[in-house]
Symmetry: C2
Subunit: 471 residues, 2 copies
């Protein structure tokens, strides 16, 4: 009996898709990665997942866990493999208002969790463009980031408990809602970010946070990146760590954006080299209440801080949103980044992290190397400056793989020189597997291989992803 | 040639202590665990550590990493083993004010790092009673907690980068200062909290935080623990997450403390069942500046909040420290906990974690079971309520191991029923090895064993700690 039939018998044929029904699952959001899975399995509960993995492990059949398939690295590519979709594990089983936790299945869509939390005046802070499709299982498996990591951390920082089905089908129960737990190795964080290569996440206990009652949002121009970092620290001190977004849009990005959206004006009458989008938030209702003179405390705090800095020259220009419409306009410029980057000619796009004080060095070292590779290349940067995450794109005027490879190498060289990482928030998947092999500390790579073999001795879980072979 | 001679030849005889010189290292702070190491090795650099482990691995000699030896679980017991003390790796090589990081050796004493950070108006937030002896290596290896985890997280949350010498002597370089890094498995968090069983931490990059400019400290009596939790959430919203300590001292603790220190009065004129010590902090200098009427903004915020709650009956009584002396008095009652617990008759002491909303259930379920074991037993609780960490002590009037075992079991039963952990912040060492075997999820235990074998195939790193054998 073939493996798909075995699984159909074990979990029910209605939970197994093949042929045309399975075809849509062979594509992900990027469209860059396509595959033909042996079958698409849609288990209805953790026991089903356990049965699937028992059979796959016994038969040595590769299994690719998948959820919303909105990742950017091809981690759910499932050629000649079973695709295990957790989409039916989509129950929010508890919102615990007292403990501020949510207990969710791996197939819960991020925006559904947002909505469920908001009905209790709480938030699940993680947010990103794909929130309407991305699911908790995938977000945890890639340790997804986004624009408010500076405030709340990546997905890893928002997870208290996990349920994981291991390669042999056994269920590991780490489903606790604890803020302290020193009972052995940190298996939770090992599974988070492992992109389904060490186990299949089926459920999680997540942290909820109080819903901000007030936002103050501004665009600011500063004379240098070190000054921008000073501004970040100063705002953190003024707001008690209330900075929710601190995004860097250099002149290259503003110009590029304007080519795409010629009707958009601003952000300033004059163009500056270094533009920062700032959002601070407060959970105290009083901070959102207008005084008799119409001033709102949180806005006033931002006005005072920036006004002082305008006077002493550390800020060159500043615009503070006076209403929600103006706030949305400021955000839109930043959120257009995906569209502006991905649908504009031939390009090489990267997702790198640097120490907070090395961003200026990165730019200074990289530009001459790019020009040496292709004198006509142009660069566009947009960055989560508050957490050191840069998305750097180089546009070139011909589709030359050798040049594209050289550009990737140039970025990665500079990142390595400055103690950065070649993957900040997107993960490894297949797209960065070769980079892992070349750039990751070799002792760490061997440790990863040893752990992979220990927890998945038959190598059935998402093979060919994340962990490069040793040869 | 014996192994100690081999190591002496490799790293220099002056770095190897034997006989009487080694004797003091056979004791830890508790005095409960004593051993006679084969030798005490004091490497001067990471290369020395590498050489030691190469020789130990080749000869199959157990190695027990140690630093300040202030742990409470016997994790540095080194009978018939080499003790590898990292005390000479005591260099603070960088305080990076711009990036707010410190790069330190594993032998740096916590209070020395505190001092170094403070000269830059920054703090390394982790603090605990043993700060004058505890070293970074041990603090990371046990993922130490303390009283301000509610604000800053445990040690794990304060570490960005690690240098680790693996069992075979190879050096794993994870020494980055990145806030986002999705380049493969989370090896950093796997090593943190592993109590030296997976590798020897030799250096780290740690996060620094801005130094609070103002503190407001209070003792508050509330009618129930659910109301205390509401108070915590309310204060977090009022201060933007500025609660630094939220400590629970029930009547049992206040009474017990008073027996020990009969001269101490208070905290209130009336005695209450549920007393909470609160400290909030602000990093904005204005929050510490007295107005014309003498009021200080941060104190005023606490006064307003508590005043409102006194009116509506959710707070029964409250005292706010008006100066540093009063603040120290409030803190002293909490910090006496160690002395009060450990030097007062025959007792069973535990360190457990519970979901934030289960503390009252824990007390209600536990007391009848303790009375059933020993009708004359008395309980004292003191807890880091903000993070769900309870230190529960049962005092008994005779030294009966069967009763003591039964009491430990009773606590652990209730903890397990309520989804808690039998180790919150102290770790496992040898003292909780049997508990690990009985209580830890069996699939998680097997995963731990597999990882241990994968990274330390000869079993030389701190054997007999943390990971119980499978038989």
């Amino acid at each position: 009996m073939d493996v798909v039939t075995q699984i159909s018998n074990a979990i029910g044929a209605d939970r197994v898709l093949t042929g045309e029904e399975a075809t849509p699952y062979g594509k992900d959001w990027t469209g860059a990665y396509t595959s033909t899975p042996l079958a698409v399995l849609r288990p209805a509960n953790t026991q089903d997942v356990s049965k699937i993995l028992q059979i796959a492990n016994a038969t040595g059949t590769p299994v690719v866990p998948a959820s919303g398939r909105t990742g950017l690295t091809g981690a759910t590519l499932a050629q000649d493999a079973l695709m295990l979709s957790v989409e039916r594990l989509n129950t929010i089983s508890e919102i615990n208002v007292k403990a501020r936790t949510a207990t969710v299945g791996a197939g819960v869509i991020l925006s559904n969790l947002h909505d469920a939390a908001e009905t209790h005046d709480l938030i699940f802070p993680l947010t990103l463009g794909a929130r309407g499709s991305a699911m908790i299982g995938g977000l945890l498996s890639t340790n997804a980031g986004g624009s408010n990591v500076v405030r709340y951390g990546s997905t890893r920082g928002l997870c208290l408990g996990l349920e994981v089905v291991m390669a042999d089908g056994r269920i590991m129960n780490l489903m606790t809602a604890l803020h302290k737990d020193n009972s052995g190795f940190d298996l939770r964080n090992l599974i988070i970010g492992a992109e389904g290569t060490l186990g299949v996440i089926t459920a999680a206990v997540l942290k909820l946070e109080p819903k901000p009652q007030a936002y103050a949002t501004a665009m600011v121009a500063v004379p240098s990146l070190p000054v921008a970092l000073d501004l970040l620290h100063h705002l953190q001190e003024q707001t008690g760590g209330g900075v929710e977004a601190f995004e860097y849009m250099p002149r290259s990005y503003i110009d590029h954006h304007r080519q795409f959206f010629p009707d958009v004006t601003g952000p300033f009458e004059t163009d500056y080299d270094i533009n920062i989008m700032i959002e601070v938030a407060a959970t105290r209702p009083e901070d959102a209440q207008a005084a008799e003179d119409g001033s709102v405390p949180l806005n006033a705090l931002l006005e005072d801080t920036l006004g002082q800095m305008l006077e002493d020259g550390t800020v060159l220009d500043a615009v503070i949103a006076q209403n929600e419409t103006q706030r949305r306009e400021i955000w839109k410029r930043r959120e257009d980044a995906g569209e502006v980057a991905f649908f504009c000619g031939i390009f090489v796009n990267t997702d790198v992290a640097l120490p907070l004080d090395k961003i200026a060095d990165f730019e200074a070292r990289l530009t001459p190397r790019i020009k040496a590779i292709d004198a006509e290349a142009s660069e566009v940067i947009v960055a989560h400056l508050g957490d050191g995450n840069i998305h750097h794109t180089t546009y070139i005027n011909r589709n030359d793989p050798a040049i594209m490879d050289a550009l990737v190498e140039a970025v990665e060289d500079v990142v390595q020189e400055l103690g950065g990482s070649f993957s900040a928030e997107h993960g490894i998947g297949v797209s960065k597997l070769e980079t892992m092999k070349r750039r990751k500390d070799p002792v760490a790579l061997d440790a990863m291989r040893a752990i992979k073999s220990a927890l998945d001795p038959n190598g059935i879980l998402n093979p060919g992803k994340v962990v490069p072979s040793a040869d």
